[in-house]
């Protein structure tokens, strides 16, 4: 047939959607909290269907040694990956779950192999930190083998077959940063966008949501979009160029506080005022901007949400109802409240606030 496959059918998950109103409320609440924390007047939630789903079909009696739950992790390519893995494992110990895990080294293609390999070891459930949409097919394959999959800290298309997605919402972050910036600039000015890695969903989805917001304001001009590889070094080089090319830049939308370090340095060294900027809350950035009058809005994409993902997986195995999308509500703040969050006893790699206890952070070498 010349028809496009799957174009007409809407998400199958909607069919057994129940208790929708309460679920929807929890979704909008995450948006309003963030708006409140950042002092944004106007933050309209992106449309999203959240509802409760029946997991009776996944119910499984807990075996003697506890459930075995696999984690297809990002891998220790940065502190986010390390913390995510660590939080997952610690929580698994606490609740008596045994784990299997595989590291994708940040690469979707590797993760495809990982998921297949993990599935072949027959875990009761699988938590996947998606490295890109490229893994969708393999996730479907795993669910078809009867393994419930929970997506964690990332999203996949609706037809991935995952039971539930537990994440901080990209749209929320991208839009909130943009709205805050617009408000800071009074709805008028030149903005540069700095994203992480070209082609990587984490970066591209946030940027896309932000662009939608900026489009609403005719007097906001996005002058350029560049990539920082989430590296302060690259960000600084890019910022050096921004300074020369757009001396009258009014604001910088960025998805990374760690990258912002470079931006702040570049402007400071050039003797210019740092324009208002955004990003996720890295301890390094907070330490670097302490005592300066840099204006920023930060939010969080907590690695520790992997523990919530694990809980969701266990709920699914117990047959308890779960939400199809669990949007983690976690703090956002601006430069005004930064003092509350900075951890001077900790290193640059920490994402604040961390829910891991101090002993763990010390053990990981992140704090002293």
């Amino acid at each position: 047939s010349s028809e496009q496959e799957g174009s007409s059918s809407t998400s199958a998950a909607n069919a057994d959607c129940s208790n929708a109103a309460a679920a929807q409320d929890s979704y909008t609440k995450a948006w309003s909290t963030t708006a409140e924390e950042l002092g944004i007047q106007d933050l309209t939630p992106v449309e999203e269907t959240v509802c409760e789903i029946d997991t009776a079909s996944y119910k499984k009696d807990e075996p003697a040694g506890g459930y075995t739950i696999a984690l297809a992790a990002q891998g220790p390519i940065n502190s986010w990956g390390t913390l995510s893995e660590e939080a997952f494992k610690r929580h698994a110990d606490e609740i008596g779950v045994s784990t299997l895990y595989a590291s994708a080294n940040g690469d979707a293609t590797t993760q495809v192999d990982n998921i297949q390999q993990l599935a072949s070891q027959k875990p009761d459930a699988m938590v996947v930190v998606p490295m890109g949409e490229g893994i969708t097919g393999q996730v479907q394959a795993a669910t078809e083998q009867g393994i419930p999959v929970i997506l964690c800290s990332g999203i996949l298309p609706d037809d991935s077959g995952a039971v539930s997605t537990v994440t901080r919402q990209y749209d929320l972050l991208g839009s909130a940063y943009a709205e805050w910036l617009v408000q800071k600039l009074g709805g008028k000015g030149k903005v540069a966008m700095l994203s992480g890695l070209a082609g990587v969903p984490t970066a591209e989805y946030q940027a896309a949501a932000a662009k939608k917001v900026f489009e609403k304001y005719p007097d906001i001009e996005v002058v350029t979009q560049q990539y920082t590889e989430w590296s302060p070094t690259v960000a600084k080089t890019v910022a050096d160029n921004l300074i020369t090319q757009y001396p009258d830049l009014d604001g910088i939308w960025s998805d990374s506080g760690y990258g912002d370090l470079g931006v702040v340095q570049a402007y400071t060294e050039a003797g210019k005022t740092v324009p208002p900027l955004t990003g996720d809350s890295s301890n390094a950035f907070l330490k670097a901007t302490e005592g300066t009058d840099v204006q920023f809005a930060l939010s969080t994409f907590p690695p520790e949400m992997s523990a919530d993902c694990l809980d969701t997986a266990v709920s699914v195995l117990k047959g308890e109802p779960v939400l199809n999308k669990v949007f983690i509500d976690s703090p956002s703040f601006t430069n005004e409240d930064a003092a509350q969050y900075v951890r001077k006893d900790c290193g640059d790699n920490l994402f604040v606030p961390s829910t891991l206890d101090d002993a763990t952070l010390v053990e990981l070498g992140l704090c002293s």
């Binding site: 082609g199 989430w230 302060p232 600084k236 300074i243 020369t244 640059d348 070498g365």
Partner: protein, 332 residues
């Protein structure tokens, strides 16, 4: 006559990358007219410093007939060592730098041993050490290198000479002059060229070719350590993410400049031209606001174009060939 044509051919080889540079400059002038400012010049100078330091080490390895893919990993290794051993403490800096240098030398020695003792092709040998060093860094730091870069180091990355010239550019210039002179004017340099151009003849003439090759890999590792320190000084943090990609800029710079991959041919001056061309190009592309895709496409075309121009198949020898054919025809 043959001398004159040889001179022409040789200057053609040198002029080609210069021509490329001019093309890029003109393109920049047309597309981003605002970018011919002192500030942009400073940016270019900084880029030159950053790319150039490793390009010099790479040139040495290329001259002895090798290639070094492990540079990116060594750069990060140096940064991580400095951060973890000093944790931001200036007084520990010296020890840290010594350790970083030793680590770099160890990688260089491993490269050289693989290449010479086991005859592993340099491309594979240095790629293997790249992955291995990468693995060591991750295993050691668990993916999240801790510690901090001492303030004393910042000067190396962000300092300026005469309030204008970025220190990395100065470091590069000094290194280029020193290595350039060593190559052209000292016995060591002579031995490097001999080893690269004809290792058998060099060995029979008493040149310790094994040591020369080892020296080149060690030197390359040292420039990588230096580049790592410059990077650390520039940003003041351990930026572990940087190491995950191979550093192909150093190879690209040398090759654009006209250093032969087959060894024994090339001057530091050519590498300098290649470095400048690449730095201008990269800066221009960012200024232009070109997307990631366009940047890659242009880089690829410039590399190919520059090498093609110098191959001689593009200009001089073709012309000479044609003239010779016509004279033959006339006489025949």
């Amino acid at each position: 006559m043959s001398n004159a044509s040889a001179f022409l051919a040789r200057s053609g080889r040198t002029l080609a990358p210069l021509a490329g540079l001019i093309v890029v400059l003109v393109a920049a002038a047309i597309t981003t007219p605002g970018s011919f400012t002192v500030d942009v010049l400073r940016l270019v100078l900084f880029q030159i410093g950053l790319i150039g330091v490793t390009a010099i080490g790479q040139t040495l390895v290329l001259l002895v007939g090798g290639i070094d893919l492990s540079i990116g990993a060594v750069m990060t290794l140096a940064t991580v060592i400095v951060a973890t051993t000093t944790n931001g403490d200036d007084s520990a800096l010296l020890v840290a730098v010594v350790l970083a240098v030793l680590a770099g030398l160890a990688v260089g020695a491993a490269n050289s041993a693989l290449v010479q003792l086991r005859s592993v092709p340099p491309f594979v040998a240095t790629f293997a050490t790249f992955v291995l060093v990468q693995g060591i860094i991750v295993a050691w730091t668990r993916g999240a290198p801790s510690g901090a870069i001492p303030d004393a180091m910042r000067w190396l990355g962000i300092g300026r000479l005469f309030d204008f010239i970025p220190v990395p550019a100065v470091v590069f210039a000094v290194l280029a002059v020193v290595v350039g002179l060593v190559l052209v004017r000292t016995t060591l340099g002579r031995r490097v060229y001999a080893t690269g151009a004809n290792p058998r003849a060099a060995r029979l003439s008493g040149v310790p070719t094994g040591w020369i090759v080892t020296g080149a890999y060690l030197a390359s590792a040292l420039t990588a350590v230096l580049a790592g320190l410059i990077n650390a000084g520039y940003i003041g943090y351990v930026d572990a993410g940087l190491s995950r990609s191979l550093d192909l800029n150093s190879i690209a710079a040398a090759v654009i400049g006209g250093v032969a991959l087959t060894g024994g041919k090339g001057r530091i001056g050519q590498t300098v031209v290649g470095v400048v061309l690449l730095a201008v190009l990269l800066t221009w592309l960012v200024q232009l606001g070109a997307g990631a895709g366009a940047q890659l496409i242009v880089s690829g075309i410039v590399i190919l174009g520059a090498v093609w121009l110098q191959s001689g198949r593009f200009t001089l020898s073709t012309i000479r060939h044609l003239t010779r054919r016509t004279t033959t025809a006339e006489r025949g």
